[in-house]
């Protein structure tokens, strides 16, 4: 952090939290004596029992082998039989065009039928239809709730910061110039 930013942050802290600012920044917590001199041994012992020995031996060779294998799989297109490629592409295009035309016909028919259906609906039938849609949404929601798995949700969301701010806190934060001043 450059000196200027450091000063801005200090000044902000002094304004925002004078008591905290006046305290000495020391770590009050203690680790047991000798803990850090033995940690590497304990970890390596655990790794030896959990990870196959020689895991990284020849690792670079394995990676290079993999890269080479992947490269050999890619055959330049100009080396292939060009006529064969064109005929396959033309067949695929034909399938898509026919499919699209058939589908378009279905869509047109459906729009026309929906139009007639909506014109014939009474007000009460429309209300019913609305209720049905709401019910449908509710069913989707219940299904989602049932499928919801707390464990996997937590696994996937552990990176979300705790943003449990009250609206007063947000107002106060936005009205301060703190978030504008500090460069990072």
């Amino acid at each position: 952090m450059n000196k200027e930013n450091e000063n801005i942050e200090k000044e902000e802290l002094m304004k925002m939290a004078p008591t905290l600012f006046s305290l000495e920044r020391i770590n009050n917590l203690k680790a047991p004596e000798g803990y850090f001199s033995n940690l590497a041994d304990s970890v390596i012992e655990r790794i030896d029992s959990e990870v196959p020995s020689g895991y990284f031996e020849g690792f670079a060779d394995k990676v290079m082998d993999k890269i080479e294998k992947e490269e050999t799989k890619v055959v330049p297109i100009q080396n292939r039989n060009i006529t064969r490629v064109i005929s396959i592409a033309a067949s695929i295009a034909a399938i898509f065009i026919i499919g699209f035309l058939l589908n378009q016909k279905d869509v047109d028919t459906q729009i026309a039928s929906n139009k007639t259906y909506l014109e014939d609906l009474t007000a009460s039938e429309l209300d019913e239809a609305m209720d049905y849609n709401e019910l449908d949404e509710l069913i989707c929601y219940v299904d989602f709730e049932e499928d919801f798995n707390e464990e996997s949700y937590l696994e996937n969301n552990i990176n979300d910061i705790d943003l449990d701010f009250t609206s007063e806190e947000i107002d106060e934060y936005l009205s301060s110039d703190y978030y504008l001043d500090v460069e990072f």
């Binding site: 939290a17 680790a31 590497a40 390596i44 895991y55 990284f56 934060y173 990072f184």
Partner: protein
């Protein structure tokens, strides 16, 4: 002479003296990661478990680690995620709701605050009122003087959200210090 992060990673991946290089990595980062985790999980034994898991995961994950990435923030990220997973697991085991932030108050608070003078003890108590991740953000900014961009990579949150989170943490601590 201490090896650079790139040298350590390259040496481990080459397989030559991998164990020795990994020991260098542990010795280089163990204290910083310990305090980062300890701020979140509070008690020493739990911190030890989490920290060992972090290094085991680091060893297993180094094979896929891109050498142009920042080892320092990658380690912090693993440590943050491991700590939060551990805390949530503990809460579940003790039938405490995941969003209950007061669980650590049951986890040996007396030991945690031993040897502090009165005002520092108050600061430690104030820190315990913050949610775990906000406490970690406060620790990285206030005690370790890390840049917001580094913290952002370490906890996987946007810089804007982090600044807001730190700002609110500071306000809460100040209120606690002045009102209690």
């Amino acid at each position: 002479m201490q090896l650079s992060d790139q040298e350590i990673v390259a040496q481990i991946k080459s397989g030559k003296d991998a164990n020795k290089a990994f020991r260098d990595l542990i010795e280089k980062y163990q204290e910083r990661l310990y305090w980062h985790i300890r701020r979140m999980v509070v008690n020493h034994d739990d911190t030890d478990d989490v920290l060992q898991n972090v290094f085991v995961k680091t060893w297993k994950g180094l094979a896929n680690f891109r050498e142009d990435s920042n080892l320092y923030t990658w380690l912090y990220r693993i440590a943050t995620n491991e700590s939060i997973t551990f805390i949530n697991k503990k809460k579940k085991e003790n039938n405490i709701p995941i969003d209950d932030e007061s669980y650590h108050l049951h986890a040996g608070q007396a030991d945690y605050l031993m040897g502090c003078d009165e005002i520092q003890e108050k600061l430690e108590k104030a820190l315990l009122t913050l949610p775990e991740k906000q406490r970690a953000v406060f620790h990285m900014k206030y005690y370790e003087d890390m840049k917001y961009t580094q913290i952002s990579e370490a906890v996987g949150t946007s810089v804007g959200a982090l600044k807001a989170s730190y700002h609110i943490a500071v306000k809460k601590i100040e209120t606690y210090l002045t009102e209690n």
